[in-house]
Symmetry: C2
Subunit: 430 residues, 2 copies
């Protein structure tokens, strides 16, 4: 069995691993056009110098050590075989699109100037890092996770401005009360926040000098365009594969409309587990889960990917935020009648030193099944709560079932036992 | 409706709150023999000076603010009324035992000497704290949570010795590979660890001077007997209420064998949700959950307590440990054929600064339903994972269902996304 995987990111890596594990005799070829395997979510930390670019690059052995071949080349045409830019040709029994995504560059005049950057590859991260050595002022266009995380890592050492088109940062990821907490913190830390504002022009000669935001000119040494990603689905389209607004369409087996052709990761149009409607995901954990399902089905082990809960977390200075499923405004815009339970408290018992604020919001549908949750706390407290909620959402767990949770309690490690964050939020639903 | 609650600890408080909420017109009387409402799990931090004894005492308003009466008195007899030491008498329609537990004092010669302490009340904590001002050497008898936590808080400032009868500290709570990690850390921090050893005698004149452990004499200024707790069930027994080895027996409504008499918290013999067999709990979260169920049933709202998962967590220096359900040796001693999945990794991406070790062990029964889990990590990472496992155990979630978890990932906040702690442990089960 010959399996050709296009893309050497997380989805490509996982497909190669699972296929080689289940069918050790298969021939697996991963064709990657990027120079390196990079841990993309660590890029802000490499740019800020909190880690090194070389440390976020993984060796090719990540793929080759399982017996798969890694070809550094770009696929240009797919027919009965896969043809690459350098003239190679690969036969396949199964083809997997793990082509990922590319940065979306908004049509702004001046976006081509020097020191205007987008971020995807390790080389992108390296260029931004290098440019920082001569910079004092940084404009980040886009108040999403990567932009705000990087802003929080650079604040204090640089004059940082975030420009966001939508009314608040994190606007599509969190409900307003959570966005506001983050905005308050960013301002306290000296970050210049321009929300609900559009970048009209980027000015400069060779290098960028300023951006024009609704008539106002903001001088800067660097512009970072963190304005979202788009699926890499052109090759698939050319091949006659059905795509949607958010990427390649697949069934629950991660198979496309073509026999023996699968897709996984950022290039895929995911489906919400709550509504069954198309939705973007763009999360590495989604890519990995979809890749496992694709690989298993290729190997004849039936598996289904049920749709995404999109659990994600972020760290902004010393607060951590997470969410899974729907936020309130998103659920309401889908026409779902929601019930909302909240918790506001402390991350530790009030008997202890330095308890920190904690905030939870749970969204239920009319049947009182949990369909979403948002959490703000500190440290590594948030991630496992979000995983728990993600599980609960995918299993249609009800408010009453969550209310009966038996939970742990400890003065230094949890809120007071009378106020478990999830149980307390559930107890607000009558 | 008149409800008399014996005991002003967490179970008593929660019964009073829920009854007053559901039946605001009811008369609720809480009779507490302790001087104060104390946050017991914070006592080690008050003893060590990491917080103050006064800060771990809660005001009486915790009970009276909901409209319940708080009577500081000791119940001495129960017939058609409840009679107290000071001669008061209370009628009741419903009676709730929330009498808690008392320290178990092993029959050791010299246990009555000065500076030999047990710990339950705020006054106990205060006495120990005061005695520390003149102490250099401390012997802690009992390598359970409270003893080891307090040892970790006092190490460095005092010569601390832990003496444990069983082969390892935490022996009944964790499997050996977890116990060993903690023992290694305690030794590194200079704590003197004597495991598998019995205290034969405590010597001294008026004050304690030393303990004799299998012939060896260990000099000390203070001895702390942290040798477990026993349910306060004598009053119940006298009244003809059925008790077991671990306390007052109840049905799933938290009702005893007598009509209109309920029980909740440490005085109750809990039942394992996995085996349905009697088991101790001794956790504040169990007390709170049982109290809610008791109060609801008293108010005519049917509710069931399904049995305990016993989720618990602890912090020893800078590692945190948690567990829920069965550990392997406990499951095996119950005759359960187990499957075990493990994860060993890091709490952060390896691209980041200062990742810390993380260790997970999941226990499944033959049907591959999760019946237990143990986790070692750092910070406030462990508690929500344990809550998640507790939920999964109570819902008989299978390995395959957990394997399909969609989870969050972040360089600073989770292990690398290829290695989710729970999913990875599940993937070891074939």
């Amino acid at each position: 069995m010959k399996v050709v995987i296009i893309g050497s990111g997380p989805a490509g890596i996982v497909v190669s691993h699972v296929v080689k594990k289940l069918k050790p005799d298969s021939e697996v070829i991963v064709i990657g056009k990027e120079k390196n395997i990079v841990v993309r979510c660590s890029e802000p930390y490499a740019i800020s110098g909190d880690t090194e670019v070389d440390k976020i690059i993984k060796p090719d052995e990540v793929i080759t050590s399982v017996g798969a071949d890694l070809v550094r080349d770009e696929v240009v045409e797919i027919g009965k075989t896969v043809k690459t830019k350098s003239g190679n040709e690969f036969e396949f029994d199964y083809l997997v699109f793990a082509t990922g995504a590319k940065p979306f560059i908004p049509p702004i005049e001046g976006a081509e100037l020097k020191n205007v950057f987008t971020l995807r590859t390790a080389e992108d991260a390296r260029k931004i890092r290098e440019s920082l050595s001569e910079a004092k002022r940084i404009v980040i266009v886009g108040g999403g996770m990567i932009g705000v995380e990087l802003a929080s890592l650079l604040a204090g050492r640089f004059d940082v401005t975030i420009i966001e088109l939508l009314p608040k940062i994190f606007y599509t990821s969190y409900d307003e009360e959570f966005c506001s907490e983050v905005e308050k913190l960013l301002k306290e830390k000296g970050i210049n926040l321009l929300t609900g504002k559009k970048v009209e022009k980027i000015l400069g000669d060779e290098k960028v000098k300023s951006v024009i935001v609704e008539g106002e000119e903001i001088e800067t040494d660097i512009v970072l365009l963190f304005t979202g990603i788009r699926p890499e689905d052109e090759l698939a389209k050319k091949m006659g594969i059905e795509t949607g607004k958010f990427g390649i369409k697949t069934d629950k087996h991660m198979k496309t409309n073509l026999d023996n052709v699968y897709a996984a990761g950022d290039c895929v149009e995911s489906v919400s587990i709550v509504t069954g409607k198309p939705t973007p995901s763009g999360l590495v954990s989604t890519a990995i889960s979809q890749a496992k399902v694709a690989a298993m089905n290729i190997c004849g082990v039936e598996a289904e990917f049920p749709g995404v809960t999109n659990p994600s977390i972020t760290k902004i200075f010393d607060i951590t935020l997470g969410r899974a499923g729907f936020i309130q405004k998103q659920a309401e815009s889908e026409g779902i009648k929601v019930k909302v339970g909240t918790f506001e408290g402390l991350t530790k018992y009030d008997t202890q030193k330095d308890p920190r604020p904690m905030k939870v919001k749970l969204i239920f549908n009319e049947k009182e099944e949990v369909i979403g949750g948002e959490i703000l706390a500190n440290g590594n407290f948030v991630a496992p709560f979000i995983d728990f909620l993600s599980f609960a959402i995918s299993k249609k767990i009800t408010c009453n079932e969550l209310k009966n949770l038996q939970y742990s309690a400890h003065p230094e490690l949890t809120p007071l036992p009378f106020f478990h964050p999830i149980v307390s939020a559930c107890e607000q639903i009558e």
